[in-house]
Each structure stands twice: as structure tokens, then as C-alpha cells.
Amino acid sequence: PHSRGRGGSDKAPGVFAAPEDAPSELNPVLQLPKGGRRGYALLPPLLKVLSDQGPRSWDSKAPRLQPDSRALRYMKRLYKMSATKEGIPKTHKGHLYNTVRLFTPCLECGHGHRDLVKGGVHSVDLLFNLDRVTALEHLLKSVLLYSFDTSVPISSSMTFICHLSIKEHDFASQVCPSISHSLAFSLHFEVSKRKWVEIDVTSFLQPLIATNRRNIHMAVNFTCLMGDPQQSTKLENPVNVTLVPPSLLLYLNDTSEQAHHRWNSLGHRSKSPVRVRPMNSPLVDHTGDKRKGNSQGKRA
């Protein structure tokens, strides 16, 4: 699991209108820091309950905080995309994650999120707590998940040219420069259909997670031009497109025993008694003509 993913970070961070498009690209696999060992103690709730004495122990620990309904709706659709009704994981290419965690901005930490729109620039101050990520969960990809609430019906299809700049506030010491990251992307979609936009921030989050940051505090400025990129675009705040503070989505590869490993199931298949014929065997016909290969085979 320490090898870099095939895709590496050579792909410019794109924007995925989710959840129709399955997340597909790979990103460098990250070894979560030692500090994550605390997270290791927090067994996934399913196993915690199975190892405790029956569900009563869990009832007392029902989730303290109820998740955001939009986030829940998104994850239910991700579930439908990733597993059958009976809960059997679907195997489709590029589906390398066996864990996806969705964090909503931490409200109870007193920071909540400050939200202001000035001259078309939408700024929000976010704090995410990543304590639930265990030391054995390796980051594959991370995205900011924006959901668009359009209060006024707007033309069915429109083009946004957006600039996203993210600053990491480092509480510890104001001395070290806050890591900033900005990316521009154009976004064309039918707002009426797609309520979600995934913005890939893996390359931004990578150094933060690699330095064992359990609290990710970022200021996000979101500016959108509306119009046709080819024509002259003018800065204007899309008609009443209010941006709900984004959630943070982490696609992870859990390397613990209890997690399902796709490469393992592939490996399992290769254990089946299918002999791999050496290329120089008489049965393999180099001209690729199967029939001939078979007739040779019969003769051999």
C-alpha cells in the first residue's frame, strides 16, 4: 500500500460533478502519521459493537451529533454506487477505496464557519476534525463537497469559471506562513440536475495530513464568473446561488485486517487452480491463432 497510485498527482485537480461520476483518479497513497495511533484506538463502530456485549452497550453511545441531511443524502447515493442492495461491494475499475469518510465543518469547536459574500466573492472559514481517521487508513483522495442551493430558478445550463483559494490557518504558531493553495476551474453543469460539486483538494491536504494535523482549519474564497468562457466574462455573483459550507470527503484505503481488500480478492482468484501456461509452451500459438494452438495442443 505504500506504492504511489498509478495516477500519481500528475492529473490537474479536476472538478467532479458527483455522485454521477464515480471517483476514478488515483492520488499518491499517504501513510497516515504516527499520531494517528490515537485514531487506531477508535475501532470502527461496527466492530466495536460486535466485540462489546451486544448492542445495548452501543445504544448508550448513540451518535452524539446527527449528520447533516445533505451529507447523508450524498453518502447514501455513494453507497448505492458502490454496493448492491444486499451490501455486497461492487467491483468496478478505479474503485480502489474501501473507506470513504465525510466530515462536515466542526460547529461545536466555537469556530463554526464564518460565512460572508462580498462583491461576488464567497468566503468561508472552516474547521474539520479528523480524529476518526485511523492510523491504518491511507489517504487516496480528498475533495471539498459543495452543494448548490439555488433559491431562484436559473437558466438550465450555465458555465461557472471559479477560483478557489484556500488558506490553512496554523494556530500553533502564527510565525510559519499559512499554507495557501488556489486553483481555478471551469464548471459546466445543469444546476437543476446536479446539486453537488466535488473539488479535488488532495494536493492541498496532503502536506497537512502528512504532518499529522488532526484539525484542518481553512479559509476558502470562492469566486464565480458566469457566462461563456470564450466571450468576455464579467464578474457577477450567480443569481442567488448560495453556497452551503462544504463538507470534506476523504477516500481511503483501510489496510487493517477487518477491511475488505480488493487486491486480496483478486489475489484470491489467482489462487484458483488455473495453471498459467509458460509462453513457450506448445499450446501457446505465437501467431495468436487459437485454433492452431488448440490443434497443436491436441497433437502435443
Partner: protein, 135 residues
């Protein structure tokens, strides 16, 4: 050998149909032979539906039944299983007979709400029994 066969035929008394069925009984596999049984639960029965969002129903299945004496090829059991059966039959009945247990599993995807309110999709290994064996 022909002479011995003739002698044997003379020796063996004609078996009545009743004895015949008794005679074959020792080869028939046990009625409730070791096999996979269906079991389906919903997380609401366990009152876990507060934090397990999906799937709503889960079929872990289970293995139950007697292990026949000739387990070799049928269950892919190791030779040790037959040795254990012999020990139980011939040497020490306090040694348990081989048990009917799962041999293969399939994974399960679960969508849960964590105590801090975050949501996690996870794929767990070995959550559904798909094949039984005698061990």
C-alpha cells in the same frame, strides 16, 4: 479367485429386502448433512439502525449439520479431519467429532454514522459465509 468367489456366494445367505436397506444405510450421507443455511436480519431488530444507515438487511448465513465420515473430497477437508473422526470413534469419545464451519466468506459494505456525527462508508471482510466445511 473364481473358486473363492463361488465359496463366498455359497456362504452369504440370501439378503431379504429388509436387510438390504439396512445394509445400504451405512453408506447414505447423514440426512442433516453439514451445509450452508440462510439467515437474514435487519439492523433495526438489533436496534442498530440509529447508526447503521445501510444496508437495511444483512444475510450473514451460517453452517450447520453432521459431518459424514468420508469428508475428504466433498468438503475439501484436510486429512486431519478424518483422523479426528477416527479418534472420536475408536479411541476417545471425549474428543469432539469434526464440526461444520464456514470455509469461505464474502465482504459487506456498511454505511454508518460515527459518534462525532461524521459519516463513513466501509467495506468489511468476511461478513457473509458463502461455503461450509468440516474441520
Amino acid at each position: 479367485s473364481r473358486q473363492r468367489r463361488n465359496e463366498n456366494v455359497k456362504a452369504a445367505p440370501p439378503t431379504s429386502p429388509y436387510n438390504l436397506s439396512e445394509y445400504f444405510k451405512q453408506f447414505v450421507f447423514p440426512q442433516n448433512e453439514c451445509e450452508l443455511h440462510n439467515f437474514r436480519l435487519s439492523f433495526s431488530q438489533l436496534k442498530w439502525d440509529k447508526w447503521i444507515i445501510a444496508p437495511h438487511r444483512y444475510s450473514p448465513q451460517y453452517c450447520q449439520g453432521d459431518c459424514p465420515r468420508a469428508v475428504g473430497h466433498r468438503y475439501g477437508s484436510p486429512v486431519h479431519t478424518m483422523v479426528q473422526n477416527l479418534i472420536y470413534e475408536k479411541l476417545d469419545p471425549s474428543v469432539p467429532k469434526p464440526s461444520c464451519v464456514p470455509a469461505e466468506y464474502s465482504p459487506l459494505s456498511v454505511l454508518t454514522i460515527e459518534p462525532d456525527g461524521s459519516i463513513v462508508y466501509k467495506e468489511y471482510e468476511d461478513m457473509i459465509a458463502t461455503k461450509c466445511t468440516c474441520r
